[in-house]
């Protein structure tokens, strides 16, 4: 069995996103960045509720959603494991390119004297204007 990954969940009460979605996003992010790999075991529900203050139903819900998305798979009596099929395999290059572009944008914005709050606001607006595209 593969080793347990060092994934630590956190909840942001200000995000306005349902807690289960936040967990789903964090797993997806961990997969994209390579922190989680094919065959890795997700923390057990009991581990998660010991680690952060969260309703176990929320964790179940998040794991079911990950299964539904084809990113994870529940194995009876064992736990939930990352299963990466090709269709959902992260495009690491594309992700990296975007991250670099964003990085450059932030540097340029700061040079132009745009403060952090304004950057966030512009980012939010851009995301909003491009529809409610869900990951």
């Amino acid at each position: 069995m593969s080793q347990r990954p060092s994934l630590t969940f956190r909840l942001d009460p200000q995000s306005g996103l349902a807690p289960y979605r936040q967990l789903v996003d964090q797993v997806r992010h961990a997969v994209r960045t390579g922190l989680l790999r094919d065959g890795d075991q997700l923390p057990s529900v009991r581990d998660v509720v010991t680690q952060i203050t969260i309703n176990p139903n929320t964790v179940h819900r998040a794991y079911r959603e990950l299964e539904h998305q084809g990113i994870a798979e529940g194995r009876a009596g064992l736990g939930t494991f990352i299963t990466l099929h090709l269709s959902v395999a992260p495009d690491a290059t594309e992700h990296g390119t975007f991250e670099q572009a964003l990085h450059d944008l932030v540097i340029n914005a700061r040079r132009a004297g745009i403060d952090e709050e304004t950057i966030r606001e512009l980012m939010r607006t851009a995301l909003r204007q491009n529809g409610n595209v869900r990951s």
């Binding site: 009460p13 349902a18 807690p19 009991r46 010991t50 203050t53 969260i54 139903n57």
Partner: protein
């Protein structure tokens, strides 16, 4: 529709204290397996509802069913299946913790001593300590542990984490969540801490002035509310299907917390997702009751 079984079902439930109503026209259904929060100001009826559910007070009106049965002081079966923790966390102050556990064991046929001891060990509370020597946080943890060790199907907790420091509060809530994970107990708790609600509760009941003003799954609540804001154009009418819960106007524009039944597509408005806390606050500020005691509200789009 086939619903999951309800742990608590109230229809037009009311409780009258002499001239005033402690709870009025309360209709709600809390499904099994949830961690439900009762939120609302002091005197809004949270404790009244919990005490009636625990069979400690008789309703003055309407019906109440807990785990499918009518709660009453004589309902022995429910006494074992339901754990109730009073606001005052009754403990015998001169007892040692171990003695409290034995007392619990003698009085509860469903008692699980391993559960009790494990919880206390995790919390670093020594069994030989006297209750009176424990901190307020530890006393709250012991009181909750006694309640959990009964292994009830339904936990009714009246402000279990009130007056605790942030660390003790976290420990207490995690203790509770571990129990929910292990035993699949349902929980109905009252609280003033909206941040706790967002973290651990998947069902929310908002009470104001002895009435239920909102009651639903947290996820549904979060998905059906939005903050709409607009600069200028103060009299722009809202499209149909939108219910205003709370509105703030300034000389420069308007900001509204609304319930939306349909996807909202109107570029003139800026649309944001409110947090659960913001939604609950909006209902509490509004505080106006709805006739059927379920959802608010009677204000039609834009007309406020």
């Amino acid at each position: 529709m086939i619903e999951e079984t309800a742990v608590l079902e109230a229809v037009n439930l009311g409780k009258r204290y002499r001239r005033t109503w402690g709870l009025q026209e309360c209709t709600l259904t809390i499904p099994k397996g949830r961690v439900a929060a009762l939120v609302g100001p002091n005197g809004s009826g949270k404790s009244t509802l919990l005490r009636m559910a625990a069979g400690l007070q008789e309703p003055s009106a309407g019906t109440l069913r807990v785990l499918g049965k009518s709660p009453s002081p004589g309902a022995d079966d429910l006494r074992e299946r339901v754990g109730y923790l009073d606001q005052d966390r009754p403990l015998y102050k001169s007892f040692r913790v171990a003695e409290m556990l034995r007392f619990g064991e003698m009085n509860n046929p469903t008692w699980n001593m391993d559960v009790a001891k494990n919880h206390l060990a995790l919390l670093d509370i020594p069994l030989r300590s006297r209750v009176s020597n424990l901190s307020g946080g530890q006393q709250a943890q012991v009181a909750l542990t006694l309640c959990l060790a009964k292994q009830p199907e339904l936990l009714l907790l009246d402000e279990p984490a009130a007056a605790l420091d942030p660390v003790a509060r976290e420990d207490l809530l995690r203790l509770l969540m571990r129990q929910v994970a292990d035993s699949e107990s349902s929980v109905v708790l009252s609280t003033h801490a909206l941040s706790d609600v967002a973290a651990i509760c998947d069902y929310v009941v908002v009470l104001a002035h002895a009435r239920v003003v909102l009651s639903n799954d947290t996820e549904y609540i979060v998905e059906t509310h939005r903050i709409l804001s607009i600069v200028g154009d103060g009299d722009l009418a809202l499209p149909p299907g939108i219910t205003v819960i709370h509105e703030q106007r300034s000389a420069r524009g308007r900001s509204l917390l609304v319930r939306v039944e349909l996807p909202f597509n109107d570029d003139r408005w800026r649309v944001d997702r409110p947090t659960l806390e913001e939604i609950v606050m909006a209902y509490l500020r509004k505080g106006s009751p709805h006739r059927d005691g379920r959802d608010v509200d009677e204000t039609e789009s834009g007309a406020r």
